[in-house]
């Protein structure tokens, strides 16, 4: 579904990504692990068009998308839940969700909105409140809900567990599994390797701009090197 080949992205002279090959199969959950500064967020921003790649190719459903504008990529069916949630803090919860459907002209927006409010009861309860007044977990759910309002085929999440309490994190991963079960493909960037490997089928490990390891998530979970570096040694 998503095919990335030899992708390189630079900030001026600094090469953040040095040739990434990555595939996401339709219907799968793929996760990209890595420490701070490994290039995870840069990768997500490049795929969604927020950054322009220096070289390499990205194609989505067989179509080249590298170099398109973020808005055009959203219309192709890729939605990003940005790092740090990026809530429109002075719009209400409802308005935030509506913004997610900005490019849609079909008549099912209302239906999708009701579906998302049903999936996130916490948001339904606070739909008239400003986004900025929500708790961190609720904001993350709002960001996911907003991304879903675009009806993506591929949902990208950049560190959805960042700064959230453990029980909220497991809630979010449960919701991700549900969304995936309903047919949305998911690509997830995480530092929380344990949760991410549990939720995903295939995983890549990014180290200083290169893919250092890859394999099915269960393989990686049992790989002694990964265990030591990302899972805190003994489990």
């Amino acid at each position: 579904m998503l095919e990335v080949r030899g992708l390189a992205t630079s900030y001026g002279n600094i090469k953040a990504l040095k040739g990434i090959d990555l595939d996401v199969a339709p219907g799968s959950v793929v996760c990209l692990l890595g420490a701070n500064g490994a290039g995870k967020t840069t990768f997500m921003k490049t795929v969604t068009g927020l950054l322009a790649p220096a070289s390499g190719n990205i194609s989505f459903e067989g179509e080249k998308i590298a170099g398109l504008s973020p808005a055009a990529i959203v219309r192709k069916g890729i939605s990003l839940v940005p790092e740090g949630r990026a809530i429109l803090s002075r719009m209400t919860v409802l308005e935030n969700l509506e913004m997610g459907a900005y490019h849609r002209r079909d008549r099912e927006v209302r239906k999708d909105l009701d579906g998302i409010l049903a999936r996130f009861p916490a948001l339904a309860a606070r739909k008239g409140q400003r986004g900025g007044f929500l708790s961190g977990g609720e904001q993350q759910m709002l960001a996911i809900g907003r991304a879903l309002m675009a009806r993506p085929k591929l949902l990208l999440l950049d560190e959805p567990s960042l700064g959230l309490a453990p029980f909220v994190v497991s809630d979010i991963f449960r919701i991700l599994r549900e969304i995936n079960a309903e047919g949305t493909t998911v690509l997830l960037v995480e530092q929380n390797a344990r949760q991410a490997l549990k939720a995903s089928g295939y995983a890549y490990v990014l180290e200083t701009g290169r893919i250092a390891h890859q394999g099915t998530s269960s393989e990686l979970r049992n790989d002694p090197k990964i265990k030591e570096a990302y899972l805190g040694g003994r489990q």
Binding site: S69, P82, A86, L88, S89, G100, Y102, F133, R146
Partner: protein, 315 residues
């Protein structure tokens, strides 16, 4: 019926207020996407000079010259807006301020076209043209109990008032539409707007050129209201004055800069005796606003309260 109380001087102050309201709206529209442009004095000068040159040297009628002048300013807004997208915040403000100053220097030095530092005089004036038309049709302001100078000032005032009302209605409608939502989202968080599928480039350039067009319109109307323009009308003082309308009145609701423009134009006239010190008064007012009401005198919560709607944010 007598209109003896109708004072041309008051009407003229009113006309300047209306022109400044247009300028206040113009900076507000660009600010609605989070772009701080100080180029509106420059765009105003484009509208003013274009309209003045077209009517004095090429025989255009006032309405067509005003339309062309505004459109020219709007197109320059697109041309400046596209490279300006790469700049943010204070850098954009500096670049656009520079743009206005460059234009002013061009107008000073291109003497064959612009009359240089002396400017352009004897620009056809809207009020006098209307008076001439009325007299040509066999009427006289005396028939309605007006002296000629009253009639001239009144007709200018009414034309400007109509333009201002239309501009306010247009932008109120625009800002509560799809486009307005996109502007607000871009202002709040550009990344969030982009990832929601909003074409931020398009909307930022759109807002920028709308502001430029409106400044150009204000400039063209200014030229045909005063019948004299010179580069001194479009210095950085003007740019900062427009900014102060938004800072003082409030930059988060359309009526903020409208109110700011009204009060700050009226104030020096009321304080005629200390008019020389009006920038001191300005300074004090702006500082007081920043300390006690950083969002400006008029903010969305106040508008909501006055219109008796529930504020969008709940608490």
């Amino acid at each position: 019926m007598s209109f003896e109380w109708l004072n041309p001087y008051h009407l003229q102050v009113g006309s300047f207020i209306l022109i400044n309201i247009l300028l206040g709206i113009s900076i507000y529209v660009t600010l609605a996407t989070g772009q701080l442009s100080l180029g509106n004095a420059g765009f105003m000068s484009i509208g003013a000079y274009a309209s003045a040159i077209l009517t004095t040297q090429h025989g255009f009628s006032i309405p067509s010259a005003i339309v062309i002048g505004s459109l020219l300013a709007g197109v320059s807004g697109i041309l400046v807006g596209i490279p300006a997208l790469r700049l943010r915040g204070v850098y954009l403000a500096i670049a656009t301020l520079g743009f206005g100053e460059v234009l002013r220097v061009v107008f000073i030095n291109w003497e064959s076209l612009t009359g240089g530092a002396v400017g352009i005089a004897a620009i056809p004036q809207m009020g006098r043209e209307i008076l001439a038309a009325v007299e040509a049709a066999g009427f006289s302001p005396e028939d309605w109990g007006l002296r000629n100078n009253q009639f001239i000032s009144l007709s200018i005032f009414l034309i400007l008032a109509a333009v201002v009302v239309l501009a306010i209605l247009f932008f109120l409608r625009l800002l509560s539409s799809r486009v307005g939502r996109a502007y607000t989202a871009i202002r709040m968080d550009e990344t969030a707007a982009e990832t929601s599928g909003i074409d931020t480039t398009y909307y930022k350039v759109l807002a920028f050129s709308q502001g430029a067009l409106l400044s150009g319109l204000a400039g063209a109307l200014f030229a045909h209201a005063t019948s004299y323009i010179s580069p001194a009308d479009f210095t950085y003082h003007r740019a900062v004055e427009i900014l102060v309308f938004a800072v003082f009145g409030g930059s988060e609701a359309l009526f903020g800069p409208v109110f700011g423009a009204t009060l700050l134009t009226l104030l020096p006239e009321l304080l005629r005796a200390i008019s020389d010190y009006r920038y001191i008064v300005y300074g004090i007012l702006v500082v007081l606003t920043m300390v006690f009401r950083p969002q400006g005198l008029i903010d969305p919560a106040l508008v909501a309260m006055l219109t008796r709607e529930k504020p969008a944010g709940g608490s």
